[in-house]
C-alpha cells in the first residue's frame, strides 16, 4: 500500500517484497515492517502449502466479511426499493424502483418520531454528563495533594466489582423516584469507574506534570487548571469516551424494559423491539387466517417496511460515527488493558 506501483510483470506484492529488500527508503521500510513485517523475510520461498493457505485464508475472511456486511446491506436496499417487491422477497442484491418515502413516512408515525427524539436526548445528555464527570474525576484522581485520594480512588474502582443485582437496584430507584423518570437513562452511568481509570491513566502518561506545576505557580486554581489547561489537552481520550458512551446510550435497551412503563419515555430501540414482537403476532394471525395483505402499492407501508426502516434508522447513526470510532477503539482497548 505504501509502495509506489512500478511497471513490471511480477504480481504487485512480490514486486513489493523485492523493492523493499533492495531499495526502499528506510523510513518506508519501517512503516511497511509494522504492517506486514514477515513479507520482507529475504530468503522466503513460498511453498505450495503456503500458497494454498493464502487462497483459503482470503476466501474464509472474505466470506466472513460478507456475512457481517450483507445483513445491513440487505435491509438498506429493501428500505429504498419498492415495498411491493420487497414484501415478496425479490430484493436480494440490488435495490429496484428506488424511493425514499419509507424514511419520510415512518417519521409521520408519532410513536416513532417521539422515540427517536427520546433516543437522541438521552444520547446527547447522557454522553455530555458522563464525559464531563469522567474527565473531572479522572483529573482529580491525579491530584496527589488531595486528602484520602487513594481511598477515594479505590472507592470508585471498587464499584466495577460490586453489583447488588437487578432487584435491589430496581427497588432503590423506586425509593428515590427514578422509575419512569428520564433521569434513569442518564444518571446511573454518570460516574463510571472504568472511564475514570482511563482518564487518569491518560493524564499520567501523556500530560507532563510540569505543566500543571507551572500553571499552579502562575496562580491557577484547581478549577481553572482543569478547564483552561487540562481539558483542552484531553481531546483524544474524551473523544474516545464520548463515542463509546454515545453508542452505548443509543443502543441501550434493557433500562427501558426494566425501569420504564411510561410510553412517552420509550426509546427507538424499545419501539423497534415492540414492533418486531408485535408484528410476529400480527403476521401469525394473518397466516392463520389464510389471508394476505391486499393491494400493496410501491410505497404503501407494510409491517415489513416499517420494521426494516426503523432498523435502518437505528443502525445508521452508529455506522455514521463508526469511521471515527475505529480510529479510537484500538487505542481505547489497549489503554484499558493497562491497570489502574
Amino acid at each position: 500500500m505504501t509502495i509506489p506501483t512500478t511497471t513490471s510483470a511480477v504480481p504487485p506484492i512480490q514486486n513489493a517484497d523485492k523493492l523493499l529488500v533492495a531499495s526502499e527508503p528506510a523510513k518506508k521500510a519501517r512503516h511497511r515492517l509494522r504492517r506486514a513485517p514477515r513479507h520482507i523475510a529475504p530468503m522466503e520461498q513460498r511453498s505450495t502449502g503456503e500458497k494454498v493457505f493464502q487462497v483459503f485464508n482470503v476466501v474464509v475472511l472474505v466470506l466472513f466479511a460478507f456475512v457481517c456486511l450483507y445483513p445491513f446491506y440487505y435491509i438498506f436496499i429493501n428500505t429504498i426499493s419498492s415495498n411491493q417487491l420487497s414484501a415478496s422477497g425479490k430484493i436480494l442484491f440490488w435495490p429496484r424502483e428506488i424511493h425514499f418515502t419509507n424514511y419520510a413516512e415512518i417519521f409521520q408515525i408519532p410513536d416513532i418520531w417521539h422515540a427517536f427524539l427520546v433516543s437522541i436526548e438521552r444520547t446527547v445528555i447522557g454522553t455530555g454528563l458522563t464525559v464531563i464527570c469522567s474527565a473531572f474525576l479522572g483529573f482529580m484522581m491525579t491530584q496527589r495533594k488531595m486528602r484520602y485520594r487513594t481511598f477515594v480512588y479505590r472507592f470508585f474502582v471498587a464499584t466495577m466489582y460490586v453489583s447488588a443485582g437487578v432487584v435491589p437496584v430496581y427497588l432503590l430507584f423506586n425509593y428515590i423516584g427514578l422509575l419512569d423518570n428520564f433521569l434513569v437513562y442518564v444518571l446511573p452511568g454518570m460516574v463510571s469507574a472504568f472511564y475514570i481509570v482511563l482518564v487518569k491513566t491518560f493524564i499520567e502518561s501523556s500530560i507532563p506534570e510540569t505543566l500543571q506545576e507551572a500553571a499552579e505557580i502562575d496562580g491557577a486554581g484547581t478549577m481553572s487548571l482543569f478547564f483552561r489547561i487540562m481539558l483542552p489537552l484531553m481531546g483524544p481520550i474524551l473523544a474516545t469516551l464520548a463515542i463509546f458512551t454515545a453508542v452505548g446510550q443509543w443502543n441501550s435497551f434493557m433500562d427501558t424494559v426494566i425501569y420504564v412503563t411510561r410510553s412517552d419515555l420509550q426509546t427507538l430501540q424499545y419501539i423497534l423491539y415492540r414492533y418486531l414482537t408485535q408484528s410476529t403476532a400480527l403476521a401469525n394471525s394473518i397466516n392463520a387466517g389464510g389471508g394476505s395483505m391486499t393491494e400493496i402499492s410501491n410505497t404503501t407501508q407494510t409491517a415489513q417496511s416499517v420494521q426494516l426502516t426503523v432498523t435502518m434508522v437505528a443502525v445508521l447513526p452508529i455506522f455514521m460515527v463508526y469511521p471515527f470510532m475505529q480510529r479510537y477503539f484500538v487505542k481505547g482497548i489497549t489503554i484499558g488493558a493497562v491497570k489502574g
Binding site: 437487578v166 423491539y273 437505528a314
Partner: protein
C-alpha cells in the same frame, strides 16, 4: 483569589458530591439485600416489613418444582457460557488469519467490516435475524422455498431446537472481529527478531506462526480465558431477553433473566433478591479464585 494553592481538604471537598453519587448508585443497592430477609410489601417502609429470616433462602429448594427450575436456569447459564468459552479460541485464529493476509487493503477492509456488528445492539441483531429467518418473509426461508430445498418455511426464531448453539453463533457473529483486536494488538507487540531468528533456523511461515505467533498470544488468551471463567454466571440479559419467547423461554432463561422475571415481572422481590445475593457471592468467589490462579501461574493478578 490569590490564595492559589489548593489545600488537600478543598480537593477532597470538590470530589465529595461524586463520592456520594457513586455511593448511592453502587453501594446503597447493597442495603437492598435486606429485602431477602423480610416479606417484601410494596408501599410500606422497609422497617414495617415482617422479618422472616432465611425463609426465602429455603424457598430456593422448597419444592421439587423449584429445584427443577433452578437447575434448568443454571444449566442454561453454564451451558451457553461454556459454549462461549469454547468458542473463545476463534478470535485468536481470526487474528492470525488476518495477520497472515498479504494484502493490507483487504486486511483493513475485513477488520473494519467484522468489527462493526459489535456496535449494534442486541435488539438490532434480533431485527436482522428477524429479517433473515422469520417464517412469513425471511430471506432464507424465501430463497430456500423458491429453490425447492424446503417445502415449508423453517421456524428458526420460535423454536427451542439447538437454541444454545444458535445463541453462541450469534454471539460469535457479533463479537469475533472485536475480540480479535486484542490479539492483533498482541501480535504487533511480538518482537520481530523472533521471526527473523525462526526464519534463519529454517522455519517457514506456518512454523513461524506455530512457534512464534501462537506462543506470543498465549498470555493474552490466558487472561481473557480467566476473565471469561470469572464471568461465567454474569451473562447479561439483553441477548436472552430479546430472543426469549413462549417457545424458547425454557432453554434461554439465564440467571440474570430469571432474576428479572421472578423479581420485577412477577413481583416476587424478596425471592429474587436471594438469587441476586447468591449470584454476587458466587461470582466474587470466582473472580478471586481466578485471580489467585493467575497470580500463581503468571505471577501477576488480572485486576
Amino acid at each position: 483569589m490569590k490564595k492559589a494553592l489548593s489545600t488537600p481538604n478543598k480537593l477532597l471537598l470538590m470530589v465529595s458530591p461524586f463520592v456520594v453519587f457513586a455511593f448511592v448508585f453502587h453501594y446503597l443497592p447493597l442495603a437492598g439485600w435486606y429485602f431477602a430477609f423480610v416479606d417484601y410489601q410494596p408501599g410500606s417502609s422497609p422497617t414495617e416489613m415482617p422479618f422472616v429470616g432465611l425463609k426465602w433462602f429455603r424457598a430456593l429448594i422448597s419444592s421439587q418444582e423449584q429445584v427443577h427450575t433452578i437447575l434448568r436456569v443454571l444449566a442454561n447459564t453454564l451451558g451457553m457460557s461454556f459454549l462461549g468459552i469454547a468458542s473463545s479460541i476463534l478470535p485468536l485464529i481470526f487474528a492470525i488469519f488476518l495477520y497472515e493476509l498479504r494484502s493490507s487493503k483487504l486486511r483493513r477492509f475485513v477488520q473494519t467490516v467484522s468489527t462493526a456488528p459489535n456496535f449494534v445492539s442486541w435488539v438490532l441483531v434480533y431485527a436482522l435475524v428477524f429479517a433473515f429467518l422469520s417464517v412469513d418473509n425471511g430471506v432464507v426461508n424465501n430463497v430456500l422455498t423458491r429453490m425447492g430445498v424446503i417445502s415449508a418455511p423453517i421456524n428458526f426464531l420460535i423454536s427451542s431446537d439447538h437454541l444454545w448453539i444458535k445463541m453462541t453463533l450469534l454471539g460469535i457473529w457479533k463479537g469475533l472481529g472485536w475480540s480479535a483486536i486484542m490479539y492483533l494488538a498482541a501480535i504487533n507487540g511480538i518482537d520481530q527478531e523472533q521471526y527473523e531468528a525462526a526464519a534463519i533456523d529454517g522455519a517457514g511461515r506456518f512454523k513461524q506462526t506455530l512457534h512464534v505467533t501462537v506462543p506470543g498470544l498465549m498470555p493474552t488468551f490466558f487472561v481473557l480465558l480467566l476473565l471469561a471463567i470469572a464471568n461465567i454466571i454474569n451473562t447479561g440479559m439483553d441477548q436472552y431477553f430479546v430472543f426469549s419467547n413462549a417457545m424458547t423461554a425454557d432453554s434461554i432463561e439465564v440467571l440474570d433473566l430469571y432474576t428479572y422475571n421472578t423479581g420485577i415481572v412477577s413481583g416476587n422481590f424478596s425471592f429474587a433478591t436471594v438469587v441476586s445475593i447468591l449470584k454476587t457471592v458466587v461470582s466474587l468467589a470466582l473472580l478471586f479464585s481466578v485471580n489467585r490462579i493467575s497470580k500463581s501461574v503468571r505471577g501477576e493478578s488480572i485486576f
